[in-house]
Assembly symmetry: D2
């Protein structure tokens, strides 16, 4: 128990000062500050392997660069097929757009104009053509990969522009994406299979690598954006560790309906996924707001 200290906003305040000022505040602000402290410790702890799980449409909405920068502190990256598809689409030269006037959003009109909507973000339906060309040109390289991680690194190696896939390949950061079939990338592979080609990418093989990683790490830390399969897949691997030593979760999902995305980190203590002595915090906030604040406070 500590005394509440009222936050004072100063003119020309820096992000790190703002977050430091939030340390004495209750509710969400105090949790942002706590997350900053934990992130700082976790990223500086030489014994700690950092697992970074990203669900939600973080790439199309404009958080790609933040993810790229957080990857500099990350040992294992787990995300959705959707984020990787949107990353690849941008690497191929396409863009995402933002709806400026949200008073009325008409999905029928958007369909007619050829735009796909993700809340207030749009993508041209036509992007799939470039994607298809890329997969047609490189299918033989992809089909030789034996597991999903190698497949994703191969995309990173061959894609023309920068981005998450490219960086993970370049820096040899393992990317795990067990649900890759559920994405535009999956669709591109299906397109070739539908044309009669074959792939041989085993579903279970890269579990070995993530679990070995968890098993052998002296210490582990987790940073979850939005739950989903990325969180769950990391949590599963952590059952083979001594439990994570550091934990930050940023989500807007509720716990009461029992889903993993809204489950507080402390639930993981019962499973052995989180150490009972861990430094951890649940931040209930839109990740596009919380992550820049937290990460901005430690640079």
């Amino acid at each position: 128990m500590k005394e509440v200290k009222h936050l004072k906003i100063e003119k020309d305040m820096g992000v790190s000062d703002l977050v430091r000022g939030m340390r004495g505040v209750g509710f969400g602000a105090g949790k942002i500050a706590r997350a900053g402290e934990i992130m700082d410790k976790m990223f500086k702890d030489g014994d700690c392997k950092v697992f970074f799980g990203v669900a939600g449409a973080m790439v199309p909405c404009g958080m790609k660069q933040v993810i790229l920068d957080v990857l500099d502190y990350t040992d294992i990256f787990v995300t959705t097929g959707a984020n990787l598809t949107h990353d690849l689409i941008e690497s191929l030269g396409e863009k995402h757009y933002k709806i400026e006037n949200e008073r009325i959003v008409d999905d029928v009109l958007l369909a007619e104009k050829g735009f796909d909507r993700i809340y207030n973000v749009l993508m041209k339906n036509g992007v799939y053509e470039k994607l298809e060309d890329f997969f047609k040109a490189n299918f033989d390289s992809f089909s030789k990969c034996g597991n999903i991680k190698d497949f994703l690194w191969k995309i990173g190696e061959l894609c023309p522009g920068g981005g998450i896939l490219k960086k993970c390949y370049d820096k040899k950061i393992p990317i795990f994406c067990p649900g890759i079939a559920d994405s535009g990338i999956g669709l591109m592979m299906w397109g070739r299979i539908a044309e009669g080609k074959t792939t041989n990418i085993d579903v279970f093989t890269d579990m070995k690598e993530i679990i070995d990683f968890s098993w052998t790490a002296k210490k582990t830390g987790v940073l979850y954006i939005g739950g989903g399969l990325p969180k769950n897949f990391i949590q599963q691997a952590l059952q083979f560790s001594k439990g994570a030593d550091y934990g930050i979760q940023i989500t807007t999902d509720r716990p009461e309906s029992g889903g993993s995305s809204g489950a507080p980190l402390k639930e993981g203590i019962s499973w052995g996924k989180l150490s009972k002595d861990a430094d951890f915090v649940d931040v209930v906030c839109d990740a596009t707001i919380a992550l820049p604040l937290i990460f901005g406070s430690i640079l």
Copy 2:
């Protein structure tokens, strides 16, 4: 626009009368009633192929029987590896438990006592032993499967008790679970791989079946519990249909942070996943409350 009619609760009221009475009410109740009407139409429409997507811990919490009964009206089932693992655990004779006094829940104590927590539901950590025996005994059969659907049907064929996997096998309802590696079932397969055995279950192969199914259906309908990968995988397939004609989504996730689980169904119109003339409704409610009410109203 219709006049609001005040709901009157009668003594000994039936579920279908209650839901009918909700038809004249605004907010959530009216959406329950609307979902009942849509479910009734969708299940009775002989031209309509029904896709049922289930995320969230619906099996451990006590909704297995409801899912089993909804499967009688379902053509394609997509769920998480977790639900299938919990289903198999019960087929092998194990149980789930419910915390009666929630005033204080101590995860450290639960860990010491050997219980894994999912909100207010518990599972004995020891269940994994039976699971391991089952996978050791049947690994050879499993490793021969070429895709996830066949693998899951094989589990259904070989598991001793009833349940979802068994029913899907018996009734030949295709189950898709692209994220199967992210589950206790995945762990069991990993265990064998770690012992040196090999599997050969391709990641992309069963996309062909679900997309063919969508492509060739005269009409399609969707019933989503909780979003996640099951919703997204069905939505992806529906891009190859004329857009779903019927839609019911039950979720407690918010749309503003941009995740698929909280996205309203109408977003799908822009993508071509939902027909612009569809009958659809978003029910923002805990699925353990909403699904029994809706399904109970149409029997």
Copy 3:
């Protein structure tokens, strides 16, 4: 800790059977069942005084009749000025409406057509004319009331049709509404004050009655729909009891941002507003769904 029992939905099932079946289920369904048990005990306990607090637009949306029926079991009623205004509007012969097609809701168009929107419920802007006539005709009776409760009973006495205000007057159920100025009823009183008339209704006087009531009750129980001022005003009075013995709260607000509406009931134990031995449950659900189910299960 109890074994989870899977809910089975039967053909022609009654509401009370459905809710009884939810007793063995985790997450929200189990809480509905628990709320039914607590409501049953609380309503039957002859020593227990029941405080019923209703926030949210429960009258315009179509829950007026359910509230009227719950009032038969209620000793003290606390609500918002908005609910009482909408109740009076219906007593004066006006209606509320429900938007049938929610795909696009255009508030500019609604304003042009003269409809005021409350989520998917509408009210004609013109209703204020009847309201004004009623207050002009009866202002002298109203201005003589010395406290808010007497003022509200006087409206109930004089209004032509049935409804909540009428029933509370007829059955002498005290209605407390500390925020009455914040409502259409308040506006009507302001209208007369703006014309030069005077009122003399003291802000603090009826605190005495609700606190005396709490102080002298052998046992107390609370039923909260949606938090807000009604919950808080009852909680405040309960500090002068031994703490409520029974508690049911139905809300969709989150606890993390620290507001009273999302605060779980157990927080009240620290304040002495809830007995540490109380039977209580927090139901996180739209009240238009949860209240009919719970109340329907005990009739």
Copy 4:
């Protein structure tokens, strides 16, 4: 529609640069940036009268100083009795506290130790003694006030330390708090009434002032923290304006259950509370995170 621009977090970034960088991002971050732009315009527009409504426990949690600083740009302040009570408690020299370890929070233990809990913030139960002394000493001055605003200014005049009440009195910023009876301040007044003293503070009188203010303003702007009665009371007054020209709402409540706290600002267009040409944004975020960011970006 604009191109999404990926946010880049720089070392030693300022808050205003961070928020400017969020301008190109979708989801919540973009709304923070939009809110910053609107706040800047609204505060600089010499013709615009600013209404500031604050619900939720913003004072106890550590946001008092931010509110004090925003009051420099505010013409009308509306808040809950709870916030004003906690402000007065601090003016009288008492403190609030923050729970540091939230893994287990035991309300029974807190009750035994004499602490009242508001999510993760605590207050000593003993603070009421100082409060009582203050009201006993000054009751005669308070009981002469004819409306709530004058009563609150009188508290501000007489209370020893600084704070919100003091500042509003000093700067003659009208404070409206229609629900004042629902608060510790209300309890203190009740205590004197219970001892036989009388007050004469009319419920409806200060509606005249807020509505006159709205009626005569050339332009109006609103800043809502958390909905509730403060938002609703301002919205009600705005029906007598041409509709607000600027609007910022920060809330975590959902719209689907129909409460005012979760209703998006655009609903107000149908009622005439918001101009159809208004600059407005709904920020779905914990206010302790969002408000410092937004306000910090414009200083």
